[in-house]
């Protein structure tokens, strides 16, 4: 807890010392971190591998983009509402996807994402088709409240969303509900035999996870000012999965580090080579092979050894 407050304070102080371009990068890293953390709920705690998490992200982006473009809803309301909507829709998605287990589950999530991707190209009034939605504003609130429309203000809004999500998720994984998720991860047949309706738990965690991914997407739209089909593309689903595994699945903090690492490497590598994705594929495979516990998992076990 003390650690958490220290990190939060540090992150809150950063806008005073960083140049603007670094602020932009950091904000994007936090949004991606939130996205990766949401996926960790499924991958790390219930071992439900989603190959279509971009579906939730893109959904959130389009939803908040539409709210901001077509209504005068204040930015934070639009963002929260988009995340909530994403979570509600995901109840249906979860119902369908949990019909299957294992790989079939993963493929169903991918199929859902591809379906949304195809829909986004056709449903021009809502998605702007291949042009996407451009010029998404950061609507002011009542009484002329506009603090979130500045660079630093938007950063704080993002930080608040990330910290809020983290606190919620940490509570969730430590709760009775979270214990059942771990049971499903380790031995689903036994969990059923103990009297749990595991399917309902799985649907619930899909909805929660997709909801937070939607929140991340909903932040991205006003952050970038646009939303396009790239946000629904399967490559993004793959990238966020890489962030989770590289950072450390089942740790909540790890995936955020994974997102920061990902973005930093992307910045560094893309100035030397345009095939940075190749390196990421290799890094990802190496992590799965030799360091399945990820960066944060490794740090934790190091600290654990020192303490012992």
């Amino acid at each position: 807890m003390r650690f958490l407050i220290a990190v939060a304070a540090l992150l809150a102080l950063l806008p005073f010392g960083l140049p603007p371009y670094a602020m932009t990068l950091l904000t994007e890293a936090l949004i991606l971190g939130l996205f990766a953390m949401s996926l960790d709920l499924m991958v790390g705690y219930a071992r439900l591998i989603s190959f279509g998490h971009a579906a939730a992200y893109g959904f959130g982006a389009y939803a908040s983009g539409n709210f901001l473009l077509h209504t005068s809803m204040p930015l934070p309301c639009a963002v929260l509402l988009a995340g909530l909507l994403g979570g509600l829709v995901a109840i249906g998605v979860g119902w369908v996807c949990t019909q299957a287990t294992g790989v079939s589950f993963s493929m169903l999530t991918l199929a859902y994402a591809q379906l949304l991707y195809a829909v986004a190209f056709k449903w021009t009034p809502v998605t702007g088709a291949s042009d996407g939605l451009a010029g998404i504003p950061r609507n002011p609130g009542p009484f002329g409240v506009t603090w979130w429309s500045t660079k630093a203000g938007f950063y704080y809004l993002t930080l608040a969303c990330l910290l809020g999500t983290f606190v919620f998720c940490r509570e969730l994984v430590r709760s009775p509900f979270g214990a059942v998720l771990r049971g499903i991860r380790e031995n689903e047949a036994k969990t059923i035999a103990l009297g749990y309706n595991t399917r309902r738990y799985k649907i619930a965690i899909v909805a929660i996870s997709f909801g937070f991914a939607g929140l991340a997407g909903a932040l991205y739209a006003p952050f970038a000012g646009f939303a396009n089909t790239e946000l629904l593309f399967w490559l993004l689903s793959g990238q966020v999965l890489i962030m989770v595994i590289v950072g450390g699945a089942g740790t909540l903090i790890g995936p955020v580090l994974g997102a920061v690492f990902f973005l930093y490497m992307q910045q560094q590598l893309s100035s030397y080579t345009d095939s940075w994705a190749l390196f990421f594929g290799v890094i990802f495979v190496l992590f799965v092979l030799f360091m399945p516990e990820g960066i944060w998992g490794l740090i934790l076990s190091r600290f654990g050894k020192k303490a012992a």
Binding site: F51, V103, M107, L278
Partner: protein, 289 residues
């Protein structure tokens, strides 16, 4: 256009599409059936087959050479991948395979982009197959008829292989009963590499055959892998007959759906898959009740 000729040509269209899907589906089923590995990179091997096919045709000017070179190269690459990488993972849970082959898909996509570039590449069918025949006065490309024939040949070969050979028996046994995998023991490590290589080689053939129809492009991998999994999930993981049925079903839905409801063809495919999963979670011919 009269209805009957239209129906016949569309059915032939669908069957040629089914042949391509079957090449993919049976390779995936072969690998899953005997190794219990889910090869997400299957679409990437398919794509590699198309590009290798393009280069072979480019250098030799001979499509038939491509049909031989591509599956061998792709299969050898698959076997090498099994030897070098996948072998490290036996004993870990199934998700490790899924993620490593997913990583391989990303890597192969990038490498192919570096070698062949981002432009879609046209592959010409051999002259003997580039004609058009008239079926009930409707023009129809010979190449698609060739695909239907090739699909039937491969289906028969696989069926005989499963019925007549020891390896085929083993595959049928393991697809019935996952526990049987343990009976494989550790002395059949070569069989694993070979099976993985053959499965990938089948995807490679599919890639070469698809190239004249759809061009070799970077979008092939994700589309192919989704289609493949859809048919295998519909048919039942590990069942060859299931993957054949799934391939035909999906192909017909794709062809007729695209014709009548161009905006919803994709949705139909998923709808069928979801319906099958709701009614029979293990697929039409799958083991799970």
């Amino acid at each position: 256009m009269d209805f009957l000729p239209f129906l016949v040509t569309q059915c032939l269209n669908a069957l040629s599409q089914a042949a391509l899907l079957f090449f993919l589906g049976c390779g995936l089923t072969l690998i899953f059936g005997i190794m219990r590995i889910v090869n997400f990179a299957h679409g990437a091997f398919f794509m590699l087959g198309a590009y290798v096919g393009y280069s072979t045709v480019h250098w030799t000017g001979n499509f038939w050479a491509a049909l031989i070179v591509a599956p061998i190269l792709v299969g050898a690459f698959g076997a090498a991948f099994e030897l070098g990488i996948l072998r490290q993972l036996y004993g870990r849970d199934g998700h490790a395979f899924l993620m490593v082959t997913f990583g391989l898909t990303l890597i192969m996509g990038e490498v192919i982009r570096l070698i062949w570039g981002v432009e879609a590449l046209q592959v010409k069918p051999p002259d003997s197959l580039s004609d058009i025949v008239f079926i009930l006065d409707e023009p129809f490309p010979v190449y698609r008829l060739f695909l239907v024939g090739a699909g039937i040949v491969v289906a028969v070969v696989i069926w005989q292989f499963l019925e007549r050979t020891r390896l085929g028996l083993l595959i049928r046994a393991t697809s019935q009963n996952a526990e049987m995998v343990h009976a494989l023991g550790t002395d059949v490590r070569l069989v694993r590499s070979a099976v993985f290589g053959i499965g990938c080689g089948l995807a490679g053939i599919g890639g070469v055959m698809a190239a004249p129809l759809v061009t070799a492009s970077l979008g092939m991998a994700p589309n192919a892998v989704i289609d493949t999994f859809v048919i295998v999930i519909i048919g039942g993981m590990g069942s060859f007959l299931g993957s054949l049925i799934g391939a035909v079903l999906v192909a017909f839905v794709q062809v007729f759906g695209t014709y009548y409801f161009p905006d919803f063809a994709l949705a139909f495919m998923y709808l069928i898959m979801v319906t099958v999963l709701v009614v029979r979670p293990g697929g039409l011919l799958g083991k799970e009740a």
